[in-house]
Amino acid sequence: MKPIGTIIEVNGPVVEARIREGVGLLEQVWVGEMRLAGEVIALKHDEATLQVYEETSGLRAGEPLFGSGELLSLTLGPGLIGSVFDGVQRRLEVIKTEQGIYIQRGATTEALPERGWRFSPSVEPGCHLHSGALLGVVSETPLIEHRILVPPSISGTLIDLVEEGEYQLNDRIALVRAEDGQEHVLGLTHRWPVRQERPHSGRLEPGPPLVTGQRILDTFFPLSKGGTAALPGPFGAGKTVLQHALVKWSNAEVIVYVGCGERGNEMANVLEELPELTDPWSGRPLMERTILVANTSNMPVAAREASIYTGITLAEYYRDQGYHVALMADSTSRWAEALREIAGRLEEMPAEEGYPAYLPSRLAAFYERAGRVRTLAGEEGAITIIGAVSPPGGDFTEPVTQHTQRFTRAFWALDRSLAGARHYPAINWQTSYSFYSEVVAPWWQQETQNDWLALRAEAASILEQDARLQQLVRLVGAEALPDRQRWVLEVARLLKEGFLQQNALHLIDAYCVPERQVYLLKLFVRLFELGRELLEAGIPLLRVRQALDLPRLLRLKEAVSNEQSAEIGTLQLELEARFKALEPTGEEG
């Protein structure tokens, strides 16, 4: 590393330097004798403004500045899966062995573990390779076959390719000669700047659902693979628990979890739990498909700003290999605040609530990196983004929530009053929405052989009637309502407590397969119809209620496991018979 300039002023994480040699905007730099990681954020004549990712106390004017010659970039290659990085791809496990329990400044780690990988070539020398084409594969984990691709900026004729065997990350794997005659040596890894979207050869429509095993999401507010969802909520409403549930249960092939300004203890929970949990789809440890980016709230704010980009770039890298990746970011508000904090230090003109005017365009650019695409290699790949938002005071009209809502197509609104009553997940079914329902409907019809759209419309209508009646109940009490309306309240309670509520910690209920979701919903909707018919025929509510047996139905979700889903169908027949028995016959007159 050679010095390229000298520090002339230090003001918190913002440092001014006088540059002797050419340096580019957004180039990664190392600041001062301590070599703190930083980035060039403004250039004026021979002066550069730097954003430093680490605490700057102790730094003085006159200390040197070192250049890296490239933009803030990641090393992409086998070994990413299962790693825990900070916001700028330093491996926390390595920092632990080198520095003890605290993260000291100036830490540097290799981005990927140094080890050999077994590489099997997929092409023959002599063929023409376009950028992003497949060179060969490495078995990264039992779940993930890592596809080594020609980096996006390179194409040409394959001059040389190694034979199957074990190779180190730095070994030469292939030699490609470009059209212009330039030769490129390719290894198992390549570098990519985090703020630049990786190319693909075209967008596809959002695809089948991202099955999460969470009933309220899958059934009422589904997310499509390649879609985007916002998860706003006040503190204590369960954003993080829900994000963790999605990390554990959703049927993506690769999960990138970005803990952005999050709690250290929660990160510890994820780190302890994931290696022990098994993926319900493959039966393998969850860590074999997961990458964690952990920049907790007490870690430097500039690295927090970068962590979101680190996360999405990792996601794109696996998308390009033809995987479906889900990115969970908790919380994008902390990222926006980091933007605000840095903008403040640069004395930029604030727009709404002190946020810089470019907040919406940055948010839009981030969410636009989601999507289902045709990769350069011709495969299908997708990135689904689920971004948690932490609105101050739980006020959804604040800028980050508002703008996020504009750029995402599913909105899962968490509600403080539901959380107060310990109704979890505390997703408000009246204010939440999803534009993917129609998109995923064919999958559900096919998978469960039911008229899924009609079923959920029926259930939604019961909940809707309930919401209106509840206003009345608050004024006159449930007792004062006619039987028909009280029946709506009764079944709505069943839907709310027996279907929408789901205990993320319960052995059986934490994860609910689509089949069980439909069985439960069908049962409740069917009972509603039968009960209504009975009431219309003059049977008193008391008797219908007795036949319903609410306590048993409320516990059904925790009593019948995924494997036993069909038993709910059996129970439905039993209850239908019991209801039928109430029908007025000759005897009862």
Binding site: A61, I95, I101, G261, R263, E273, E347, G354, S390
Partner: protein, 463 residues
């Protein structure tokens, strides 16, 4: 030791020295003037400019009289186990007339972030003997659980009760309490001192007192000093440390004052945009570390201005801490102590600290049921106001009865009363048994059969 002489300008707390270029950012300095010394810190350093931020008042200072002596490092605290049993001021200087304790180590008061991958997930209970906490918002070693209160509510009594009653399971574990007063009145400081002294537990306690009339800038250091000692005791000396910080609202106000005087862009209610990061840099200094026995638990106390939970201080705190204990003015008025409003209260780490092998197998479900039923009580009470109690259904009237008893019998207790978790859960069942068994849907049938004290055939299908 380096010195700067003659400042060029003074603007509020900021002192500008031109022509000096060797100050390190964040370095601590002593500012000498005729008749006194104040501490200060380097806020900006350039090639020919150093800006010193003065802690304390700058009224009457003349630029030409000022001399600055560099202490050569960011603020450090000499820490030792001998600090237990002692009383210090807000900057860590002895206040009890005894000589300073011999330092075992000198640590940067700003600390460094704990590496997330060395943390151990907190899951060992701390018993406080308080039903509202142990039963429904369990405190766990390594957790940060603030008390959200309002002016005039008994948060100090509750904080003192927690500190005095806190117990951990396990033989031979050493337990320490560190108390940091942030801009509190002399009365409050005396109250805590006396409560600790009277209980005979002063020997396991260190007090750091930044009082209301101390310089606000010093208030920004006091919690960091307290936490620096706490980290040393917890992670180097294997203590289980409980840190009480009261009142964080005073801290945030000092930060706002400083930020305004620096001329920074204000965020919500004039607080600086980095309030979240600043609070996190303290709250996150707690937890457990793999392969080390100690733990650091924090109970910050804060008063919500205007009882508004969406005010930036409680709001941002709530986003960082692992739950909150919310006190209610209404319950306090009704004579309930501790006036814990359980519905907005929450302990995020509770789920792993309770249950079968830790407390009792029915604990998680009982807590969930209490929450659900008490939420229903609020609805029924609202309805009763409109249509009158007599017009309520039998079940709704049972809820009213349950609500009364829940507040009077389960939440209420004496200021020096220690209730074991078993006692709390038994009381909870007594109270829950005022409801028809059929209403207890958060409990399993087995649990209801085993613990329910009322008639099982009443309103349910049991038996």
């Amino acid at each position: 030791m380096r010195e700067y002489e003659k400042a060029d300008r003074i603007e509020g707390p900021l002192v500008f020295f031109e022509g000096y270029g060797d100050a390190a950012y964040g370095e601590l300095v002593e500012v000498h003037f005729d008749g006194g010394v104040r501490l200060g810190q380097i806020l900006l350093t350039g090639e020919r400019l150093a800006v010193v931020e003065l802690w304390g008042d700058s009224a009457g200072l003349k630029p030409s009289d000022l001399r600055v002596r560099f202490l050569g490092e960011p603020m450090r605290l000499g820490v030792s186990t001998e600090m237990l049993g002692r009383i210090f001021d807000g900057l860590g200087r002895p206040k009890d007339g005894l000589p300073p304790p011999l330092a075992e180590a000198r640590m940067d008061v700003h600390g460094a972030p704990l590496n997330p991958s060395v943390r151990a997930y907190p899951q060992d209970l701390i018993q406080t003997g308080i039903s509202a906490i142990d039963g429904m918002n369990t405190l766990v070693r390594g957790q940060k659980l603030p008390i959200f209160s309002g002016s005039g509510l008994p948060h100090n009594e509750l904080a003192a009760q927690i500190a005095l009653q806190a117990r951990i399971a396990g033989e031979g574990e050493s337990f320490a309490v560190i108390f940091a007063a942030l801009g509190v009145s002399h009365d409050t400081a005396t109250f805590f001192q006396e409560r600790f002294a009277a209980s005979g537990l002063l020997s396991r306690t260190a007090l750091f007192l930044n009082l209301a009339d101390d310089a606000p800038m010093e208030r920004l250091v006091t919690p960091r000093i307290a936490l620096t000692l706490a980290e040393f005791l917890a992670f180097e000396r294997n203590f289980h440390v409980l840190v009480l910080l009261t009142d964080m609202t005073n801290y945030a106000e000092a930060l706002r004052e400083l930020s305004t005087r620096r001329g920074e862009v204000p965020g919500r209610k004039g607080y600086p945009g980095y309030l979240y990061t600043d609070l996190a840099s303290m709250y996150e200094r707690c937890g457990r570390v793999q392969e080390r026995a100690g733990s650091l638990t924090q109970i910050p106390v804060l008063t919500m201005p205007g009882d508004d939970i969406t005010h930036p201080v409680p709001d941002l705190s709530g986003y960082i801490t692992e739950g909150q204990i919310v006190l209610s003015r209404e319950l306090n008025r009704a004579g309930v102590y501790p006036p814990v409003d359980v519905l907005p209260s929450l302990s995020r780490l509770m789920k792993d600290g309770i249950g079968g092998d830790r407390t009792r197998s029915d604990h998680p479900a009982v807590a969930a049921q209490l929450y659900a039923s008490y939420a229903r009580v609020q609805e029924v009470r609202a309805l009763a106001v409109i249509i009158g109690e007599t017009a309520l259904s039998e079940t709704d009237r049972a809820y009213l009865d349950f609500g009364q008893r829940f507040e009077r019998e389960l939440i209420s207790q004496q200021v020096d009363e220690f209730r074991s978790v078993d006692e709390t859960l038994d009381l909870a069942w007594q109270v829950l048994s005022r409801l028809p068994a059929g209403e207890l849907t958060r409990l399993s049938e087995d649990e209801v059969k085993r613990f329910y004290l009322g008639r099982l055939d009443h309103g349910g299908r049991y038996g």
